[in-house]
Symmetry: C3
Subunit: 425 residues, 3 copies
Amino acid sequence: MDLKNSLETYFDRLWPLCRSLTGEGYRRSLDILSEVMPMERLKFESGRRVLDWIVPKEWIARDAYLIDPNGVKRADFKSNNLHLVGYSIPFNGTLNLSDLRPHLHSIPAQPDAIPYVISYYTEAWGLCMTHRELQSLPEGDYQVVVDTELTDGHVEVGEAVLPGSTDREIFFSTNLCHPSLANNELSGPLVMAFLYDRIASLPNRRFSYRFVVAPETIGAVCYLSVRGDHLKQRMDAGFQMTCIGDRGHFTYKLSRRGDTLADRAARLVLRDMGPHEIIPFDPLGSDERQYCSPGFDLPFGSLMRTRYMRYPEYHTSLDNKDFISFEAMTGSIDAYFGMVCALENNVRWRGTVLDGEPQMGRRGLYITNGTPQGKQDRDRAKFWVLNLADGANDLMHIAERSGQPLKTLISVSAELRTAGLLREE
Amino acid sequence: MDLKNSLETYFDRLWPLCRSLTGEGYRRSLDILSEVMPMERLKFESGRRVLDWIVPKEWIARDAYLIDPNGVKRADFKSNNLHLVGYSIPFNGTLNLSDLRPHLHSIPAQPDAIPYVISYYTEAWGLCMTHRELQSLPEGDYQVVVDTELTDGHVEVGEAVLPGSTDREIFFSTNLCHPSLANNELSGPLVMAFLYDRIASLPNRRFSYRFVVAPETIGAVCYLSVRGDHLKQRMDAGFQMTCIGDRGHFTYKLSRRGDTLADRAARLVLRDMGPHEIIPFDPLGSDERQYCSPGFDLPFGSLMRTRYMRYPEYHTSLDNKDFISFEAMTGSIDAYFGMVCALENNVRWRGTVLDGEPQMGRRGLYITNGTPQGKQDRDRAKFWVLNLADGANDLMHIAERSGQPLKTLISVSAELRTAGLLREE
Amino acid sequence: MDLKNSLETYFDRLWPLCRSLTGEGYRRSLDILSEVMPMERLKFESGRRVLDWIVPKEWIARDAYLIDPNGVKRADFKSNNLHLVGYSIPFNGTLNLSDLRPHLHSIPAQPDAIPYVISYYTEAWGLCMTHRELQSLPEGDYQVVVDTELTDGHVEVGEAVLPGSTDREIFFSTNLCHPSLANNELSGPLVMAFLYDRIASLPNRRFSYRFVVAPETIGAVCYLSVRGDHLKQRMDAGFQMTCIGDRGHFTYKLSRRGDTLADRAARLVLRDMGPHEIIPFDPLGSDERQYCSPGFDLPFGSLMRTRYMRYPEYHTSLDNKDFISFEAMTGSIDAYFGMVCALENNVRWRGTVLDGEPQMGRRGLYITNGTPQGKQDRDRAKFWVLNLADGANDLMHIAERSGQPLKTLISVSAELRTAGLLREE
């Protein structure tokens, strides 16, 4: 089965599950992803203090709906789990329409979209529907069923590690806490799982690779409470994977420091891939908020396609299978894998001939015929590597300064090393 | 009486006085300003060596005019003190028109303006008139009266200090040596006096504030000769106040170093106030020439509206009450006071939770409902402060990096401190 | 004889000689240039190892041509030395057209140009002609004569030094290995020789000046093998002189470091001369490849007019006397001499009055009449020098920061020094 089909198959299995920060839907989703990327589970019990946070109760959502005055069932959780406000407390009773209204959510500007609403840290219940439906509700008494429960349980974090030959690490993080939403967020875990698969088959890895699936914010806080020191000591580059499945061009959000290895790798790979956008760090967003908090300040950026909050389907029922593209997702895996290659090959080369150029012709390393127009791109890349390989510059610097494609520089470096003109510093 | 009316009242009293580097008009002007901003007088006697300069003689101008061949009085000093070239030496005699001409000044391109001309350091006499009048002068003999005197006296500098809780100082400097000219220069001393008034009522000042009124160039040189070392040790930011009363947008001229606290405060305050212009330092201009001379090199910039030499009314009789706006002057006081607030609040905060975000919801510090579009500007500012409050960044840096309004950052910092999430580093 | 005529006279004598990396034509060309710029000869024998390179054999070209099936002589080396591929090995025989074709070179896109082709490091022979001629060749047998010889000999480098009062050096390098090509490259040695002449008459030189004429690449490698350490210790700025005779505007290619004294001098001189282009370093090009190799990394840039490979006449018979301009070449000498002046005058001045401005009026150093519009450019330059002459800034820095013309700054510095307001730091 090809990659696109595999992505779609897993998407279809994950789509209907009702995920949240905690609970069965989340656990079942981790199970499915573990078929591709086997994960350990880290568990954090309700009430536990993690850094500045307190782990919330586990939320169980069994059913939720309205029966309108005409006996019609509406906002049926079982038909679309977005109908129920996330972390709703239980409620069972009859309300007339005006008393019910404060509990109903819709988006007037998008009358056919069901909004995604949560109430994690305020105790409340609510139901979501399209604005068109909301406006058509008849006056009268409504039977309300919100069959939920908040109970002691766990926040769970899935973790996978692919070891390399050194103790330096590359880190990938994604979220799994949204219910039936496609780009934000099933695209992230799907891209991660199949990136894992590709890196697993990469021979002679210098770096170790760490993959984390967690509910947004609280999951990252939990994870940092046990792995924060490790990451500070080991991580050379990390990336948040979110909103990575739509048809838009790539967007990279810089780390807090803005010039880390993660940022440099992303800039170079995107530069060579075509139109894209680099945006500065800001302290809102996804789990970069935690990984780039001032106490950790990790080399951690975020590669997206169309970023959160910048597409109208965001956090509505319109962020569905139609909105994403499995073709685009394979391109996202390519981009992430490009950054892996950039990092793996980021050697500080040192030329064996530094005084004057090495005599390339004598070694059969290029064709000189007196017409410099004929210089091949490959030859040009060789001269850049040789000129800048003074032991102080890593290969990314050479790519940054020369403007030559990173892939070409990686390839000619190997050739020059074989010819005895480069050695690793 | 409101601020605008106060400014106008003092303007009207100061306007007719014949000021110069020295003399009665200058002293009387200092007296009037002292009603709002009580000043000490520093006196420097004629002939005294101050730094590289020699204090000039005091100039007394009693009267000056022409009687034309038809008996008409022209260029009457008593009707407009611009008719007499500043520092004219005395002359009494009869000249025919062609002998008189070299002593007459006008502006052909502005035929209705009387130019402002001075001859401080060359002994000469002269009279100024509109070009229209100059061209209409009949041939014949003119009686010339220039009743002036150059005599030993003093250059005087007015100085006021508002103490604060630390020995660090903010410094304001302005000039008072021009006769009846409005934007350049009565706007400067007027804005200073009423800024003094506002700062005087600011509780818990960290900084001390120093205000200096002096004749241009020689006054600054005199002042530096006695306070230069003090300013080098104490001044954190200083500003020249000139051309600050017209209706144009703000112009800030950077200090010699270009990145001082003065420059940063001005950039931020103007950024938040709308269209404005930042111009680089150059060694021409007003008293920044002295305060930014290489031996002092103080953190001293200049906040103006339309800068000197950039408006056609500059140094002519058209720089009068019609040209300025007391409304604009109150805005100028606001801008200066904004810089004072920026400096007073430029704390290096340190978060009490640095590892991961603090749990804001638990503390009631913001509303989280899963729709990040709903993040209030105030919430955004809080996240910026918390993310950058690592003890290394001052609040101006946070404003510079985040783009958030400085006022909002000051306000949320206070709230976060009260909540126990920040402490002063 | 004026400079333009001298340039043309020497051009006409050098033009017909068949130069190459080595050989009689090259040696004869050095002889002619030595009439203007007397040079020592450094010799490097064939087979000698120089840095990473091996000195090639010397190439003797006596004759070369084709006799076509109709008895017509074609590609006659004696009519234009571009007809023979440089470093062709000898050949004598009869070939039919299809066997001959692989040895024939033309440029389809420029049907009237004979290309310049060399084969330095691959043993081969070939003949060049216009594409129009190539297409008109009749079928049949061709008599081929390539009367050449590769023999042990020498690479030779010409060197001239003009001593100065310090041991710091300015370095100029050019090439002489191309046969009848005008802009690339007779313009370089011609401009160098007459620049030498001008510098020789400059009194009180602070710097020593070193001039090197060499075959491209191998000549620079040879020269660095004996003078590399000397240049590393002594050279403050160096320049490659090539493509400096056409009518285009100036192009300066930065050194590898990009901010050396050479780069700063070139930027300032070109800034004051009008439209020009500054291009970044890249490791292709002329002998900057060797002088800026990572082991030497010298402060060495390249001032050209239209750069190599950017004009269609480049490396063809169209790069001839019509393409160049002796007027432009005198302008090139002026530009180079401007850089010499910039370097000679790049003093770190220190004002004798640093606290406040010196009182210029008292010293008769400028006219002050209260109308700053009247400030002369010269006065403005004086204030810049005095403000920045704190002993830390060289004159180039003052020119960079102030935007004032370097020539004016040099002139007013001399005046201020005479007035006792500056001394050399």
